[in-house]
């Protein structure tokens, strides 16, 4: 598991200590994670990993799993590196 993924899982577990979540678990199929938490995830990812997520990437699917968030961060970083 990448450092980024484990950092993201740490954040989620800190908020939902009773949750058992793996990097590929769908966060939104777990009842108590709602759209308000999705908003927190966006803020967390942007702040912690110093990325700005463009509007067309602000989709629930990009935040559905810790793995999807890690991939999103990877894409944004490589876009910056190339650009």
């Amino acid at each position: 598991m990448s450092d980024t993924t484990s950092q993201i899982l740490g954040f989620i577990k800190n908020r939902f200590p009773q949750a058992e979540i793996s990097e590929t678990d769908d966060l939104f199929s777990v009842g108590y994670i709602n759209s308000l938490f999705a908003m927190e995830l966006v803020m967390y990812v942007e702040k912690t990993f110093a990325v700005t997520i463009p509007i067309d990437e602000l989709l629930i699917d990009n935040f559905r799993t810790a793995k999807a968030m890690t991939e999103l961060i990877g894409r944004l970083r490589s876009a910056v590196a190339v650009g």
Binding site: N34, L36, I55, L58, L59, F63
Partner: protein, 294 residues
């Protein structure tokens, strides 16, 4: 009597909307009207609060599609919103929506000033949780144009509002308000003037009693919220909801309802007071009944 209305590119009439108070509700109201093409003037007491409001609107527009709403261009929405310190900027508004804190002295001062600044045809909408509309309308010399609309939070995402005429509100004011609301996709549920109307009279009793369950040690906040979500099927429990609204705001509203009815069934839970004193006001402070990340 009609107000000078502006037209959008499709010929639809677009009025200038004044929004007083750039807190959670004011920001939502401003964004919602701007989304539908209205020119909005958003006022508060300081430039700092207004800058924060613009940042919040920018963020909420960015996240709109992800939250199940329409895709929004933050720059386009913000271009329709002018911000200003003080109420004088509202002189040209066709309708003013007031969203100041649920504190009578604040409401009284704002409505006394609005009554002088705004022309007699300007619609004055009170977005209040629990203060009776008739009482607010009595502050100015034109109670016929004052009406209550209780918007739900988050405003752009909630299609239904409570519409509350005061004793002196004219039928024309009610009709204009209904039309204005329909124009931004809102359906109005009619309620007679009272304290707390339908939604807050019920929701605040739930939140206050839920706080008592925690205060008395009968159950944890998690347990109370679980019963609401998993047994009643509500999307959120009452204490999560209190954290979202702000524990201090919930306390203000239940105080207003308690004072109004002078009925002990609305007595505010001491835990709400202690949490407010301690700054544990919910999501906005990072901790309330539940803990949130900074």
């Amino acid at each position: 009597m009609t107000n000078p209305l502006r037209q959008d590119e499709n010929g639809a009439e677009m009025s200038v909307i004044g929004v007083v108070g750039a807190g959670v509700m004011g920001v939502g109201v401003a964004q919602n009207f701007a989304q539908y093409g209205h020119e909005v003037v958003l006022v508060d007491l300081t430039e700092e609060v207004l800058a924060e409001a613009r940042a919040t609107i920018n963020r909420n527009c960015r996240l709109s599609r992800m939250m199940g709403g329409p895709a929004l261009d933050p720059d386009e929405i913000l271009a329709r919103i002018t911000t200003a310190v003080g109420l004088d900027a509202l002189a040209k508004a066709d309708a003013v929506i007031e969203n100041v804190p649920e504190v009578w002295e604040t409401k009284r001062e704002v409505h006394a000033a609005l009554d002088e600044i705004c022309g007699p045809d300007t619609l004055i909408v009170v977005n209040t949780s629990a203060i009776p509309i008739t009482k607010v309308a009595a502050v100015g010399a034109h109670p016929g144009r004052v009406v209550g609309v209780h918007f739900m939070n988050p405003v752009p995402a909630k299609p239904v509002v409570e519409l509350i005429p005061g004793v002196h509100t004219t039928p024309e004011t009610v009709a204009r308000t209904r039309e204005l609301l329909a124009g931004i996709g809102k359906r109005a549920v009619d309620v007679k003037d009272s304290s707390g109307f339908i939604s807050n009279r019920l929701s605040h009793v739930f939140m206050n009693e839920a706080a008592y369950l925690v205060y008395e040690g009968v159950a944890t906040a998690d347990a109370v919220d679980q019963v609401f979500r998993d047994c009643f099927g509500h999307p959120m429990g009452p204490l999560e909801t209190a954290d979202l609204i702000g524990v201090d705001t919930v306390l203000d509203s239940i105080e207003v309802i308690f004072q109004h009815y002078a009925d002990s069934k609305y007595r505010p839970c001491p835990l709400l007071k202690q949490m407010t004193d301690a700054g544990l006001t919910g999501r906005k402070s990072g901790r309330g009944f539940h803990t949130y990340s900074a």
